[in-house]
Symmetry: D2
Subunit: 346 residues, 4 copies
Amino acid sequence: MEKKIRVGVAGYGVIGQRLADGVALQGDMELVGVADVMPTLSVRALKEKGMPYRLFAASVEGKAALEGAGIPISGMLEDLVQQVDIMLDATSAGIGAKNKLLYEKYGKHAIFQGGEKNDVANVFFHGYANFEKGLGVDFLKLTSCNTTGLIRAVDCIDRAVGVEKVAITIIRRVADPGDYHRGLTNALQIDKAPSHQALDLMTIMPHVEATGILIHTPVTHGHIITVVLTPKQDISVKDALEIFEKHPRIRVVSIGEGFLGNASLFRYARDLGNPRGDMYEIAVWSDSVVKSGRDLMFAINIPQESVVIPENIDAIRSSMKMQLTRETGTAETNKYLRIGTWKKTV
Amino acid sequence: MEKKIRVGVAGYGVIGQRLADGVALQGDMELVGVADVMPTLSVRALKEKGMPYRLFAASVEGKAALEGAGIPISGMLEDLVQQVDIMLDATSAGIGAKNKLLYEKYGKHAIFQGGEKNDVANVFFHGYANFEKGLGVDFLKLTSCNTTGLIRAVDCIDRAVGVEKVAITIIRRVADPGDYHRGLTNALQIDKAPSHQALDLMTIMPHVEATGILIHTPVTHGHIITVVLTPKQDISVKDALEIFEKHPRIRVVSIGEGFLGNASLFRYARDLGNPRGDMYEIAVWSDSVVKSGRDLMFAINIPQESVVIPENIDAIRSSMKMQLTRETGTAETNKYLRIGTWKKTV
Amino acid sequence: MEKKIRVGVAGYGVIGQRLADGVALQGDMELVGVADVMPTLSVRALKEKGMPYRLFAASVEGKAALEGAGIPISGMLEDLVQQVDIMLDATSAGIGAKNKLLYEKYGKHAIFQGGEKNDVANVFFHGYANFEKGLGVDFLKLTSCNTTGLIRAVDCIDRAVGVEKVAITIIRRVADPGDYHRGLTNALQIDKAPSHQALDLMTIMPHVEATGILIHTPVTHGHIITVVLTPKQDISVKDALEIFEKHPRIRVVSIGEGFLGNASLFRYARDLGNPRGDMYEIAVWSDSVVKSGRDLMFAINIPQESVVIPENIDAIRSSMKMQLTRETGTAETNKYLRIGTWKKTV
Amino acid sequence: MEKKIRVGVAGYGVIGQRLADGVALQGDMELVGVADVMPTLSVRALKEKGMPYRLFAASVEGKAALEGAGIPISGMLEDLVQQVDIMLDATSAGIGAKNKLLYEKYGKHAIFQGGEKNDVANVFFHGYANFEKGLGVDFLKLTSCNTTGLIRAVDCIDRAVGVEKVAITIIRRVADPGDYHRGLTNALQIDKAPSHQALDLMTIMPHVEATGILIHTPVTHGHIITVVLTPKQDISVKDALEIFEKHPRIRVVSIGEGFLGNASLFRYARDLGNPRGDMYEIAVWSDSVVKSGRDLMFAINIPQESVVIPENIDAIRSSMKMQLTRETGTAETNKYLRIGTWKKTV
């Protein structure tokens, strides 16, 4: 790779700052800067760390607010856009569609997040499920955190034995650690079925029938999804676990080892010393995998703050044609993010 | 009914006090008394209410503790047993098996709760699924709260179109309101699959294949179960809803009406003026019922503190042969508990 | 009392429905009806109960929405106002000020809740602290739930030995059971100090200096307030407890009895069979009362949904001059709500 | 420093692993190894990280369990003790007293944590309050997390204007992130007063009178303590804030900046990139500092997992006489932990 791909990040929130960190780790990419509009805690932390990333103001009012809080600014979002090859847009839902005009103005590629409407992009993208569909495409939209993790698990079974249909139950964490603008107290909340994650899965994997129910729960450390999957060919629990084990972005864990739930995985990631206690991998509980007739049922854990980072990096690789196949593209992302290095025996 | 069936309740806790209240409402039963071993809050409340039920001490130490707290005692558990035709045993798991010796000594029938081992009883009982199996049987064991509610929903579909298999996800409330001896804080917890509720369903309904995953959640107001059900004959969402609507112990509710989750149902039961804010019915969310191929998927709410009361009363009717069919037995229970009176079409 | 005072309730929510129930229990009052604008769960429950109270629509749109949901309407809010002597306004904050125009139009008295601004009323009222100030006054505003409970405790110490100052820490429940429009998940939240409750206390009891800090916590079953109180004359723990014991609207409880926290009191009220599991009394933990120098420190529990009901009834008595002193006014309220009947020494 | 002080850590749990990391950062100390008895998630994470620290087995059964889980062992705890100058004992409460026999056998110094009984040590220690009392002393016991943070705040006010008495309300997080063995669900829990933290403060600062009430809350990200402090000389809010600002281990934060509660501080520490999202400093909310007469009231945040680490390092310095004054000892700890480096303007 002679020249590094220059990347900018719009929106330095929960996802944006993790995208910035992920890009900064890629040997073949250069993080040009990040943009935001408010002196949020994340932006204040950036300042306390000594501004390792250049910060651009995403609006005139934002510039005033940031400078008023003593945060050094390197220019406006429009300046950032001109200096990059591709933007990762992690702004609040709906802002990405507005920013797209700016990206188009300067002929830059962009990757949007799951909160935007599908028509913001030409391709609805997942690194493992349809890498090749994104090749050279200007505007890609990533799946949301639940769908990203879910597709990892369904796609690898699909490639092995085929998947006819899935019925999912999403036990959703309702807020991220530190959120005060949303929350549930002593209540489960149900959404109208089918859940959008089931519909999104069908958009990415149109040969699979999917439905699902989503229940919000008052926790912050990761979604859990149970999957009832009807395979085309029968598959044993043992074979399914082997397939999961081989996937670089899936961890197979067990209750016996001490992984009692979503909070155990958060604690484990903290104890690993991962920045922010983040984890890129989803987890499958080996103790959860059961059969009912031909159906396979299992539970996965989705670390909602960080799970989409690798697939976003994959999207840069696909959109900028840095690699041309899912195997080479995802492998390069995994290498720089050190994903799968802990799987010594695989 | 010339002579009322005399009933005693052992264990005046979450379930026991609701059993006592439920029996007291039956026109053809007489609540002789309740037994406990400690001046718990429930026992103290009984005293503050003026002892509407006679209290018996379940042990010598218990008698001392109760009297020490100024609670009037009407005798020992053994005295109570001699005065009744049948005991409802709602003691802590494992105690029922010990109490059974006392019930046998005096030749009395008894109903045990889901926490006891299956072999404590001759028949594992559910009012709607196998009423006739309990007829005249000395010792019956009830299904646990989740299984009781789940079987109501599966059984009525089964009687209409047949059920081949179910895969359930139990989103379990981890504690009851007021519990301090157990709890989860900001964590989901997974149990080894398959869940016992799936296994229990197969014991009661041996012609159905069942599996399931259980996730504990940090809430107190009701379990939610999602059910992926494979019927023998195809059934539409509309037809399924009609079947649920007709069941006296099932409420069909919707998000649009304001039933956003388990806490809405708890609030509604309080606003109805039901004692303790209890509800005997499970709820099915009409907005949750979806299809995937032939499979039917839906979500139900289980009010864990009170849901088993009607089936316990059914069990008395079956064990004592007060009625001889599920239709007449459950109808009599429903009448006295005023279940289904709110249904226009019932 | 020859003729019963006719009372209407505007807003049939958490507070409104409890006010209606409380008024309905008063032998010398007549509940004419309640008003609301939406087919909320509380209104739907009213219908399922068979409309024990007449319901009036508070707006034209509300009438359509209620009738659309099949709820029978007895007229408009303006009709209700004309039929009463006094209105209890428990509408959402800010609506009361608008409704006041209607009350003035027909020359009716009204009681507003803590959420309204102070200038909506002529007197900021508390049944025990300043009953006489409300005598014959058209418009009274009640203190909020925390302040109402807090003043009960501070006022009775003040009458015994005088109170120089208090510093309070409010550990606030952030939502009511069944709330989905607000909530916190795994977070404590701090408000800017001093808390309004401290300021409100000084408005009602201007001779006391007060300050305080409020922390929101993710629970639903009652606030806990710790009070650091500087008395004018020294007072022992024992004497303080005796004063609390004598107050009809204060329960003295202990950890040893099983009252481990706010959820224990909620459970106890449910087990008492109180409608909705409500409790009118605040609780003081006897195990929490300690001294530091002359200062007295203790913790109280505030059942936020129901604590203000008695003081609202007191306010009717004061405003309508049904009784002329705090002793007689509060005693009459207590009699009909059966407050204090459980106290042996009262 | 010619020769580095050799340090071992017993117990590689929540506190132990943070102690190990803290010691490893000290330029004048050498972390010889850590000891544990079980293949916990923390130990498994150590292995996944490639064993940056040598692990010793604390029992024969532990050795078998660890080796059975494939964790490499460098010897037994007794081996570790022989290779160090001083042990940091962060084992479960009560184990430290047993381990002390081993430390005595080899004539090694040791630092115990707040969970041990006071008589395990010769001095109850706090880096800022009584550094000099620990000089050269074999066995020191640290204050618990709440007391450690509280004393930082009280001690610096005491050194400025004197403190006569404090009354504290501890709003305690009930579990750490990832805990499944303890938890509360929708409940506040009160402890018998006075809280041990108030008593402990008086042991360390015997010239101050202290009392307090502790309430457990269902959250994991930090305790909040409100302090009502009676100073010997009057002090203004502004002067108090300046004193807090100058303390290296205290952060002054505000709601306006976005620090809405304990979860904001956890998020901020994660965004700073601190390992595990830890923070060594307590926080004081500037918006919480108020006066009532001469009394000063304010709220502090205690990051329970990491707050005691600096004072533990201070304890090594005092016990081993690495520095001879609180100023030089705490400054050296702060330098290596990079505490206070963010305070550019101080």
